[in-house]
Symmetry: C2
Subunit: 585 residues, 2 copies
């Protein structure tokens, strides 16, 4: 029987090899095993090609039989819709990039399926793919759609206990939570929604005092009271990291190819080589470790054209942006797994695997992460915190809308310059050329100078057309790169805010319980204290966000304007050159 799927959303093909699908269109698949989040199949028009796995649902006659498949699929059928509370949808206000949004020049924002995918997404993951043995055998970028960084919400949406989970953070923190549930949940109610971010991030478990672990001195993370409120203690040893010379490498006698990036951190000055899959692995570790830190998204995956120069250059730029945000972050920059990634010599396979296993077995993730945080002496005023968080929520919504709009405008502006503007200037240039050619037939000696000057003017306008076409890569593309990065952060914040709000709700509940005599003051005090930790961390993260935002947008706007000024000066120079030709004409 042919394997079939139904399209959940419209998908417009943008690259060779892709095929467009319409919502509700029935597709025939070649395999239910996706390749980097893409499935191959034939649409109803008979066109064959790739489409995002997350845009379709596989149609099965027998849902239970799938558990016996090699691919061990947790398909949509095992997630009845009724189990996904609307609340979660409302909380998650971050708008996804519309499909086709970045059709031009190279797409700068990560390609995200429509918003609902967080609830309806399918994970096609074979258990073998998480094993260590697979680490080096796999081809570049070969992780599955489930941990694709673009699908932000995915990290919280595994299904507890039902089949193998790809997210260690959730299972580990939840299992701890479940174990301790009996002793503390009698007095403060638990969220009924076990899939809420608050629960799954470990936030609830921590607030309810269920997290425990030994915090080494090196793991301590300090929130200090700064000029504008709580902030992360600055990294006393700031560093940056260059990413150079992406080169194509092969192994298995050329059977497998991948791109290797040279990373040189300033604090070690030792170059290490890393592949995209290493970045991807690191990203997954960071996301599971830090519940209220906005981990910058790594550049999107791409199924086809991974070895094309444009793509490699674009990905490198994306990784540089990402690295810049990583090294700028006081907490992320210092964390063990990132340091391992930056400093471990990849030739020393044993050391690398040791660090890798250590990171994957890190206990201080999720709920336990909060244990590592030390806060300023005086606790925060929760009312003030709530108002700040609400203000920030409104802010992120507005910023998300405006960056989306700016991205669309800039994208279109770049497209117009490359096509229309160039064409118009070159048409003018061509017409001047044609006029000068007509004038050359006049057989008059005294018009030679004029004819040459007009011909030069024609060339000048052709050149100006080229200037317009070349310009976007110098000024608009960097803006789009910046916006893509911030779109990633903005997509992270709903979950971060959700965790803080969950903690605050527990505080309110505990106060009520104390008033009603159902809880003793000490226990409520503990909830207060832990909510204070979460709030300090959240506000510190927000403060950090604002600081890098102001830094990045200032720098990028200056760069943009400087480029624009050079551009118009170059045009002026060309025209002045043309004008001079008339002096002796």
């Amino acid at each position: 029987m042919a394997l079939r799927a139904r399209a959940l959303y419209d998908f417009n093909s943008e690259n060779p090899g892709e095929v467009s699908v319409k919502e509700n269109e029935i597709l025939t698949l070649y395999s239910e095993q996706d390749i980097e989040g893409w499935l191959e199949g034939v649409n109803s028009k008979g066109e064959r090609g790739l489409f995002p796995a997350s845009y379709v649902e596989i149609l099965r006659n027998d849902a239970t039989s799938t558990f016996n498949n090699n691919s061990c699929t947790t398909s949509g059928d095992t997630y009845p819709d009724s189990r996904y509370p609307q609340q979660n949808k409302i909380e998650n206000f971050s708008k996804p990039s519309p499909p086709g949004f970045n059709a031009f020049p190279p797409p700068a924002l990560q390609r995200q399926p429509p918003q609902q995918q967080q609830q309806q997404q399918h994970t096609y993951q074979s258990p073998g793919q998480v094993s260590d043995d697979d680490w080096d055998d796999d081809w570049d970028d070969s992780s599955t759609v489930a941990d694709e960084p673009g699908t932000v919400g995915g990290r919280y949406h595994d299904y507890e206990g039902n089949g193998p989970s790809t997210y260690r953070v959730s299972t580990s923190s939840m299992s701890r939570g479940n174990a301790q549930q009996a002793k503390s949940s009698a007095t403060v109610s638990r969220n009924l929604n076990r899939f809420s971010t608050f629960v799954k991030s470990g936030g609830e478990a921590f607030v309810l005092g269920e997290a425990s672990g030994f915090v080494k001195d090196g793991d301590k993370i300090c929130v200090v009271m700064g000029q504008y409120g709580p902030e992360w203690q600055e990294n006393p040893y700031p560093f940056t990291c260059a990413i150079d010379d992406p080169t194509k490498q092969t192994k298995f006698k050329g059977m497998k190819s991948y791109i290797s990036y040279k990373l040189t951190p300033t604090h070690t000055q030792n170059q290490v080589n890393r592949r995209y899959k290493h970045f991807d692995w690191l990203y997954a570790r960071l996301v599971e470790k830090f519940p209220v830190i906005s981990v910058p998204h790594i550049p999107e995956k791409q199924a086809t054209g991974r070895f094309e120069e444009d793509f490699i250059s674009k990905r490198r730029k994306g990784l540089i942006w990402w690295m810049n945000h990583m090294t700028s972050h006081p907490v992320l920059a210092r964390c063990d797994v990132f340091q391992h990634f930056l400093t471990c010599n990849s030739a020393d396979e044993k050391a690398w695997k040791q660090g890798k296993r250590k990171a994957e077995k890190d206990e201080m993730v999720g709920a336990n992460f909060f244990l590592t945080i030390s806060t300023p002496a005086s606790p925060l005023d929760f009312q003030e915190v709530e108002s700040k968080i609400d203000g920030f929520k409104t802010f992120t919504k507005r910023m998300d809308d405006s960056t989306l709009q700016l991205n669309a405008t800039v994208n279109e502006f770049a497209r117009k310059q490359i096509s229309g503007f160039k064409k118009e200037y070159q048409k003018v240039g061509m017409s001047f050329k044609v006029l000068s050619q007509a004038f050359e037939m006049d057989q008059q000696v005294y018009s030679t100078g004029l004819n040459q000057a007009i011909s030069f003017t024609g060339d000048a306008y052709e050149a100006i057309g080229e200037y317009f076409a070349e310009q976007p890569s110098k000024d608009l593309d960097p803006i789009m790169d910046l916006l893509a990065l911030y779109q990633g952060h903005l997509a992270n914040y709903p979950d971060i805010i959700h965790v803080q709000k969950g903690a605050l709700t527990k505080v309110k509940e505990s106060q009520k319980h104390v008033e009603e005599g159902k809880m003793d003051r000490a226990q409520a005090e503990g909830i207060n204290e832990r909510c204070n930790i979460i709030s300090c961390a959240t506000l510190a993260e927000i403060q950090h966000f604002h600081q890098i935002r102001v830094r990045d947008f200032k720098a990028q706007m200056q760069h943009y304007l400087q480029q624009q000024i050079s551009f118009f000066q170059k045009i002026t120079g060309k025209l002045e050159e043309a004008l001079q030709k008339y002096d002796n004409a």
Copy 2:
């Protein structure tokens, strides 16, 4: 019975009040009397409006009865198609402006009906309109389509002897020609096509020695041998003439309105007031007087919106260009009718009318004009002349094509700047503004400077959008004005070349006749001499054309580039201002 007409060509309405018609569409007319070359009627879709009279032929059941009409129409029925030789069409290679060509900004080229109009055009002229009495009673611009300057060929296409003609030149020269026909036409054949330009301009009559008249010293026109061949003797008293302050005047207690222009020639420094109809009258006099001089076309007529500021300003610019070409021309600048126009005080009605009558009764027009020309001592080599003329013919064809193309390109470029370019820059500006507004919600003191700088950048891009929209009136419009003027000249040259070629053909015929013993040498020598005069005048006119062309295009290209440079400098300045805002952000 309803008056009906058939459309001869497609006409696309461009302005309010006009109605589109399709070739062969049957139209119902309100009146066969046109208003400034426009007829009012209803098309087959029932749309009512104006269309050019020259684009339609009036359908009549009884052609002869029209002679009893007040309007004394010489309709298409009296010109059977078979009487229009194809030869004439082929000679006349000047391409008409395609309808709709100048839809934007204000149309710069004169609106010409398709090429064939020269053969098929109808003249709706009431005899009353040529009387002196009508001169001041008529409303502005009220002459008919027959002498509309845009319809270039019209000046040669009256119908000899059949009903009243509006063209004195043709009737006078032809009647002279007819009178003398008996004595000279026995040996050299006459053109069978009595409507050919060669015949109607008086060229044939002159070559055959049929022109005669008393040439006063003041009428003498010298062709001298210059560096590059025959040229008009320079005007020893060069002058220019300013055209200022078009003002709206009324008469008949406000019943009639017209626009009056203030003309101040430098050689008199006396201001005179002239209306468009005076220019129009002058233009008609010049066209009938000078068969091989390219009289610059006056700006096109317009039925509606004549008192709108844009139109008045545009017409004034057109008249300034026209005046510049008139005063630059060694022959036109000095001729009596132009001097009368420039110097006669319009308040002195008697003097004005005297000069007007004198000009209208000028004997030295058409064939007789050639009598006034004195040539260099040594006659031209006709083979060389023929090669030069052929070269110029090719040149005008190429120049016509290239100026048409340039005009279309520039027109579209202007449209794009006013619409698309402006929109793109303003959309970018708006997106920056929206971003700055979103950022203003961040409640962070340290980002105030950045927010203001981004907001200023948004304003800067909005301003730049305006700059783009304003620019075409400064640089592209003048180019279109120039091209319009030259399109007019290029439309004149086929007829001028035709006259010279006709003369050369007569020379060849006469040589053959001499060889065959059918003509005596003295007679052939006379034809040779007169062909030499026509050739000298034609080459002098071509030389003048090249000189003003090089002068005008050089000046206009310099002006264009200077404007473009200022434009891009203005943009750069605005961007530098924006960039500075980030210094303290």
